[in-house]
């Protein structure tokens, strides 16, 4: 057995995660060919690197198939019911910052708050005969946020990508998505509601609460944690 550390398998998220560990004396590298998803850990004994899609890391942590994992807070909260009973955040890594927000067309000068959104949704439903559509992939988080905000007469439509384009394409009236700079929103003539974001997310190192560790694994985890100062 060994401790399994799950890291996003591609892109900037992977590189920045490697940098973060590297700065703390734990060298993570990809091994094999460019396309092969395998890796190695130097600088600490008994830890294996598992390269995974960031979206699958929450599930693998919850199941205890990996002991540690790096992924966004947004994905943990969306995908895991009672997330805090399944994983423990050990460290915020200081990159991958993004806010989950609700945005409406900039031309809706009458809609700036959740209160406005609710009133507009009621009028919209009366006029068009169906509930106002909000495009998102964060169904659970947005539903809960809008319920707490007292918004009724809306429906969520699933959008797994290019969500900002749905309004122009008339498949949704508003969107709920992750944004860091807001540039894509502005380019698509959308504006963020003047409310606290649904969630502030960043890349975070999580520990799974699921697996029971043997003595050797416990030692490896302690050594790694000490090195990382988490």
């Amino acid at each position: 057995m060994s401790i399994k550390l799950g890291v996003p398998s591609k892109g900037r998220l992977m590189e920045k995660t490697f940098d973060w560990f590297g700065a703390r004396g734990v060298r993570l590298t990809r091994t094999g060919s460019e396309r092969e998803y395998s890796g190695a850990v130097d600088g600490v004994e008994g830890v294996d690197l598992v390269l995974l899609s960031a979206g699958e890391i929450p599930r693998e942590l919850a199941a205890g198939r990996i002991h540690l994992g790096v992924t966004g807070t947004d994905l943990i909260r969306e995908k895991l019911v009672q997330w805090d009973q399944k994983v423990e955040p050990l460290a915020e890594l200081g990159f991958g910052q993004a806010d989950l927000i609700v945005a409406v067309p900039a031309c809706w000068t009458d809609v700036n708050t959740l209160d406005d959104l609710d009133a507009a949704a009621a009028a919209f439903r009366e006029r068009h005969g169906f509930r106002m559509r909000i495009a998102t992939k964060y169904h659970r988080l947005i539903r809960e946020y809008l319920r707490r905000g007292g918004v009724a007469d809306y429906q969520l439509v699933d959008s797994q990508g290019a969500t900002e384009g749905t309004v122009k394409n008339l498949t949704a009236e508003a969107v709920a998505d992750i944004t860091s700079t807001g540039e894509t929103l502005r380019a698509n003539h959308l504006k963020v509601l003047e409310e606290e974001p649904v969630l502030r997310s960043q890349a975070t190192l999580f520990r799974s609460r699921a697996p029971r560790l043997n003595e050797a694994d416990r030692l490896a985890l302690r050594t790694l944690s000490a090195k990382l100062h988490v």
Binding site: Q82, C107, T109, D110, D115, D116, D118, R127, L146, G150
Partner: protein, 362 residues
């Protein structure tokens, strides 16, 4: 936990026999229900509470989260003569917030469709439940959403504000936020202020995109301006609603308090009188009204199709468990499902699984 499905079913059948004796006709309905009706009634929130699945030809379907809606539909289709129905079977509820709670359990129900005397019908259903559940030592609580609704109808405010309050009667926090805004207790957000003061609010709007038209935006801005011109809702009116929502007494004392409030809000008198007649009808059926609890805000959060009398039977010793039985009047639901035709109705359900769970611990 620890109660098997077979045990639940046996208990459900036993309870149903009780309802059959009371004169109800046995009915059943499909487990797979069209999702559209439920989504239309409850909105997106139902997805967090019910299992939605997909059928290649029928589209989205739901595992029935309760029997009331299909029973109402069946009743409306059958010609809507006065009737009593009973049923028993599984319902399915997602438990995202409470994974320890059952997501599949039995319900035994009794639904009474009668259009002559609502107070008597309410009393018949409550008394039947009270009698059936008597051996279990549960705590009964009653309420009446119709009283709050009648108070909102009696407020001195514009029809637009009244409609907004009525729309959120089942969302206490939002209802409160609206009252605070109308009475000037919460400040106007700066963006709203700027919008109201702008000579041409659409000047910096940018390109028009999406289905919601410029005319719809203009209509809402006009409505907001009218609303701002209306001025604040009088604090004394808000206080009346506050004191109404705070009524939490035995029925006899609650009745006195509600009569006091109705002096200042005479429009709610008919609803208070209905409550009074219900108390008399309950007493005539042997219910101890002097000891029965009444909470004016009971049933506002979880029972959104109830619009009149509401009741619940709670396990007093086990606050961690949900109510063992719940029920109430749902006239407006029948009107919505009957497309204009209404059939005044009151009913309730018992959860046999919870009864067994309580029994096995006693």
């Amino acid at each position: 936990m620890g109660v098997t499905i077979a045990e639940q079913r046996a208990e459900a059948v036993r309870l149903r026999a009780r309802f059959l004796e009371a004169g109800a006709q046995n009915v059943d309905c499909a487990i797979l229900q069209p999702a559209e009706t439920l989504l239309d009634l409850y909105g997106e929130d139902i997805r967090a509470r019910a299992y939605v699945t997909h059928d290649p030809s029928r589209g989205e379907v739901m595992l029935r989260p309760d029997f009331t809606i299909p029973v109402v539909q069946m009743h409306m289709e059958s010609g809507a003569a006065p009737s009593r129905y009973t049923y028993c079977g599984e319902v399915f509820r997602r438990q995202e917030e409470h994974p320890e709670r059952a997501s599949e359990y039995f319900q035994v129900g009794y639904e009474l469709f009668a259009d002559d005397d609502p107070a008597r019908a309410d009393a018949e259903v409550f008394a039947l439940f009270a009698e059936t559940l008597a051996p279990h030592g549960l705590r009964a609580v009653t309420g009446d959403i119709g009283i709050l609704a009648s108070a909102v109808q009696a407020l001195q405010i514009s029809e637009r504000r009244r409609a907004a309050l009525m729309r959120h009667i089942w969302r206490p926090r939002r209802f409160r936020a609206l009252l605070d805004r109308y009475s000037g207790r919460s400040p106007v957000p700066p963006s709203r202020k700027a919008l109201l003061e702008a000579a041409d609010p659409m000047a910096s709007a940018g390109p028009m995109i999406g289905l919601r038209s410029e005319e719809e935006i203009a209509a809402r801005i006009a409505a907001l301006r009218e609303d701002a011109a209306e001025g604040p809702l009088c604090r004394s009116q808000v206080q009346l609603i506050d004191s109404l929502l705070a009524v939490r007494e035995t029925c006899s004392f609650a009745l006195e308090q509600l009569h006091d409030i109705a002096v200042d809000l005479p429009g709610m008198l008919p609803a208070v009188e209905l409550f009074e007649r219900r108390c008399e009808a309950l007493a005539a059926r042997g219910v101890d009204v002097a000891a029965l609890e009444f909470e004016a805000s009971y049933g506002r959060t979880s029972m959104e199709y109830y619009d009149g009398f509401v009741f619940g039977f709670l396990p007093a010793q086990r606050p961690d468990l949900p109510p063992v039985a719940t029920g109430g009047r749902y006239d407006a639901l029948t009107a919505r499902l009957g497309q204009g035709r209404a059939a005044p109705a009151v009913g309730g359900v018992i959860r046999p699984g919870l009864l067994l769970q309580l029994g096995s611990r006693a």
